[in-house]
Symmetry: C2
């Protein structure tokens, strides 16, 4: 076990090695924007999928929707640039809300962020696998298995601790940016020459009743909400300001600008190409792969493009493997989550958080069968909810801390807050029945859980504090009463008796028999070896050992008030693992129930078998 | 937990309630023949499925194959009737071979029987679900899940112990017999009126090269081997002679005759109807359901017939739940299997055997995706192997025990042995690549496992026998050295120290810290409460607790040779189950590794949390 762990995860690392690498802008862009940029691989498709409910005749409306999302992106970018300048120390929505809003608000943000991180893994990996299967449809039957394998791969890599993260991230991110820009350029040129042969506003004037019907408006809103999945991850840079080279705020703000520009260009370009080429969402071919196929034909470039898309999506999933364990460790340090999530493992990473994230995202992938568009409705709610809370906290912070309040800054962030808050509400309403309700239910449940955990730890601390009174009481020494359960007279019993004699003079052996006639034989043998130790024999007509033993201990407790009871339990230590299956596992069950049900000390005596 | 167990399984039962109900013939027929009779639900289909490899033109040959199987059934019935008269005490192939042939032979029979029982569950349940989905194709996507649910249902029922078995068995068995006989009668009448519109020897004279080609002969043999699955379970009556009312031998022999007559009639009738109606095996409709549909139309009788078929197949699976646990308990009593399989649970049933059977048959159902015909090739080998070994043992027994040997009896059993031996060989050869090889591989592996288990128990007995020398050595009393791992000073530590003082004077507390600066604070607090107890502080740069602790114990062992080391471990006993997740599970891991890796006593001190 230990050696397998070392092989997969590597040797342990000292606490002192924990330090931070300072990143130049071009590397920081790669590290912080893979999540945001990769979403162009599915956002356009999600818009079209919703519009398709009304029919392909309204596909043209993907363009105005994309423009609306670009507007939203602009507002959010401006808001976060102000936040970067105002608070260069970074900090996510949970910390900001904890420090400047209320505890409950911070926990709502924490729950929303946790869900987001899990969904980022599930959505990105599912979408990455879709990129793969669009190129190689023969892999379709195994898409869930491939997705699970990828999550496990990320889990192992992250349990090792990814040290050269920045450089490793840079190549695929820039490859993806370049290839999408090439795709847009070549595709645009083709569109210019071949002419717009896709969805056209004039042609589809028949779709006029789209706007007049309430259902049409609802579809539009829902498509908009789906498209907002393009914006997931744009806040990443504002949380990571300290990782930038100085002057870090300025560098971060510039990088944020570049990222939004790239994201906007890529998203709009892909949406225009989809409309221009008349691409329709298909079950087993992603929209972006259809555009790729249209532009690059069946050439090697198409396959390369699909592989690069898959790679960036895997990197996007990987960002959660940094963010989620960090977040839960902060929440666990605030004692709202189990302590085990706060501790770094021997490779300096938050191992339990990584494992928890992997398990939950695999669960989502299995439940939703690796379908990106089934997961999307769950995604946007949490993202925009945490945007809103995070920005609100910043407003409060600026209000409290800054002497000279900059009205422009405040106004920009307030606009951002208002718009993201509105999008949150739109998303909840438009996507409620598609799965958004799950998130709406999960967040309060998580918050309740947080409080329950905290309550337990608080009560625990009070209970365990050692005081003078308790200490004085505990100074009273009483010899324990020792009980040795036996089933015969063997070397194991001899060992137990020897140990019992070394710790007490008050020893009783107890044997539980299933057939009354066994008693005499056992007593005879016992008298031969241990005439000085009392043997109690109990006949159990129901062939259970536990309940007569518990009854007996009850009686002993009543008799001898105050003196602690110690039960000796032998445990066979076997030479080969499968030998463990050959020994009555009664001892393990007994030990478990004795410690849980009674106030007795259970001493386990190892008996090492020679073969 | 305990109350859930009681709800599902019922209250415990006394050992004395273990007694036998004596059955009249009509009830005994129902109890012992559900396995054999139910196989007509799939045997014909298995023959046709093999013939289909050559083409439907040779379907007519299902009739001569069925006749050959009837001949085989006649020989085996006669042989077992002689066995019933010769040995009214019953006993399966394992016991007979153990007592009258060699140990290895008996273990081969034991392995073959174990595999048979597991396959009986897997095949019968899969076939039962096929009966259900033939009537209700909408249930097809869940066929594996339904099969698993049925196995679990049988498991729970059998863990309760089925008391009114005989009567419960009687209704479905007779319903099945009657409905198949009605099916044959009505179907025969229809065939008479409509004329033979199925497979015809003359029409298919073109299939002449079937016999001249080696492949054709091979197909015929393979179809025969598949059809032999009709004979599974015919030996059941001979094992259960003591359950019959006196004169038990005579009654059992009569019942055996009736069972074979019914089995033969039903099997032949169904095979003739399949040929006459020209039924072809289909993926999602069983052959017998197609006949049922042909005869009863889409009326309620068709659905009733399918439900009754399913019911008898579930009952057939249930017979394994009686046989398998009984068999493994006999083998475990001979110490060839873990002792835990020999013990009756508190409801007087062999609980572990029942759970093992359920787990293994569910595994088979999942691996073979609940496809009856994928499981059949594995089935016949074990059945006929145990027939052969069982009958051989009987011949040996008669030879040894009976003064006046009855030549006719011996000749009959010998013929039976020879024929079943021949069928075993045919089955292995004809079905080898279809899965029979699995059984051929599994049986020797099981036999090796049996011997390894026995070897371990023998060595164990020798090791544990208490002798004078060991006893004298163990009379020497040395106080234990007590080690208390701590992480701070709390009420829990006070409790541990109090206990430690009650059992020894040689006490050391040990604390493993992750940051060097923690030491001073801890020492100050410790000195305040326990200045007389040594505190050892170890800095662990890799944030692991286990290895520094093991190293320390190594050092202590070297220092103080001979005196036993006792490690005290507190265990929080929580009020709500989920609180257990909130406490560092380090203690559990430590306890595990300490008992396994070092020769130390681990004493678990329960600390009951109040809330």
């Amino acid at each position: 076990m230990a050696s397998l762990k070392r092989l997969l995860i590597g040797s342990p690392m000292e606490t002192k090695r924990l330090k931070h690498e300072k990143l130049p802008k071009w590397k920081a862009l790669a590290v912080f924007s893979s999540d945001a940029l990769s979403s162009v691989a599915y956002a356009t498709e999600e818009i079209l999928l919703v519009l398709m409910l009304f029919g392909t005749s309204v596909f043209f409306y993907s363009l105005p929707i994309a423009l609306a999302i670009l507007g939203l992106l602009l507002i959010v970018t401006l808001s976060y640039r102000q936040i970067i300048y105002a608070f260069p120390s970074g900090g996510g929505a949970y910390v900001v809300a904890r420090d400047h809003l209320s505890t409950t608000t911070s926990l709502v943000a924490g729950a929303a962020l946790m869900i987001d991180y899990i969904l980022t893994v599930a959505v990105s990996i599912s979408s990455g696998v879709a990129a793969l299967t669009s190129a190689f449809p023969s892999l379709l039957p195994w898409k869930v298995e491939i997705a699970i394998a990828l999550v496990l791969l990320l889990m192992i890599l992250n349990l090792r601790g990814i040290t050269e993260s920045a450089t490793v991230f840079a190549y695929p991110t820039y490859l993806f940016i370049i290839s999408v820009l090439v795709l847009i350029a070549v595709g645009g040129w083709q569109l210019w020459h071949e002419g717009w042969h896709g969805f056209n506003y004039k042609e589809h004037a028949s779709a006029e009743h789209f706007f007049t019907s309430g259902y049409g408006m609802f579809i539009l809103l829902r498509a908009f909400a789906s498209g907002c999945s393009a914006m997931t991850g744009v806040e990443a840079i504002s949380n990571g300001v300290p990782a930038f080279k100085p002057d870090s705020s300025k560098n971060a703000a510039i990088t944020m600008g570049w990222m939004s520009l790239l994201l906007g260009t890529m998203f709009l370009g892909i949406t225009i190409l989809a409309a221009g080429f008349g691409v329709t969402p298909m079950e087993h071919k992603t929209v972006i792969s259809q555009i790729g196929h249209h532009v690059f034909g069946n050439s090697v470039f198409f396959y390369l493009f699909q592989m690069i898309t898959m790679l960036i999506l895997i990197l996007a999933a990987n960002t959660s493997f940094a963010g989620f364990p960090q977040l839960v460790s902060i929440i666990a340090n605030d004692r709202f989550l189990p302590r085990s999530l706060a501790a770094r493992g021997d490779r300096l990473v938050f191992s339990n958080g990584i494992i928890l994230l992997s398990a939950l995202s695999i669960l989502l992938i299995v439940v939703f069968q690796g379908e990106t568009h089934s997961l999307i409705p769950l995604y946007a709610v949490g993202v925009f909810l945490s945007f809103t809370i995070g920005q609100s906290g910043m407003i409060k912070k600026i209000w409290k801390e800054k002497e000279k309040k900059n009205i422009a800054t405040l106004a920009t962030i307030m606009t951002g807050t208002f718009v993201t808050g509105l999008v949150t509400v739109i998303t909840i309403l438009a996507k409620f029945t598609q799965g958004a309700w799950l998130v709406i239910v999960a967040i309060p449940l998580l918050v309740i859980m947080f409080y329950k955990v905290r309550h337990h730890y608080e009560k625990l601390g009070q209970q365990l504090k050692l005081d003078e009174k308790e200490w004085r009481e505990r100074e009273k020494i009483v010899k324990p009463k020792v009980i040795i359960p036996i089933s015969g007279v063997s070397k194991v019993v001899a060992q137990s008796v020897q140990y019992a004699r070394s710790i007490s003079n008050d020893i009783t052996a107890i044997s539980i028999i299933f057939h009354e006639e066994e008693e005499q034989k056992l007593r005879a043998k016992w008298e031969k070896f241990y005439p000085d130790i009392e043997l109690k024999v109990i006949y159990s007509p129901y062939r259970t050992i536990l309940s007569p033993l518990l009854d007996y201990i009850n009686d002993v407790e009543k008799e001898t008030k105050g003196s602690p009871i110690t039960v000796l339990m032998p445990q066979f230590i076997v030479k080969k693992w499968w030998h463990a299956l050959l020994h009555n596992q009664t001892a393990i069950v007994l030990r478990f129930f004795l410690t849980i049900k009674k106030d007795v000390v259970v001493a386990t005596l190892p008996y090492h078998l020679k073969e």
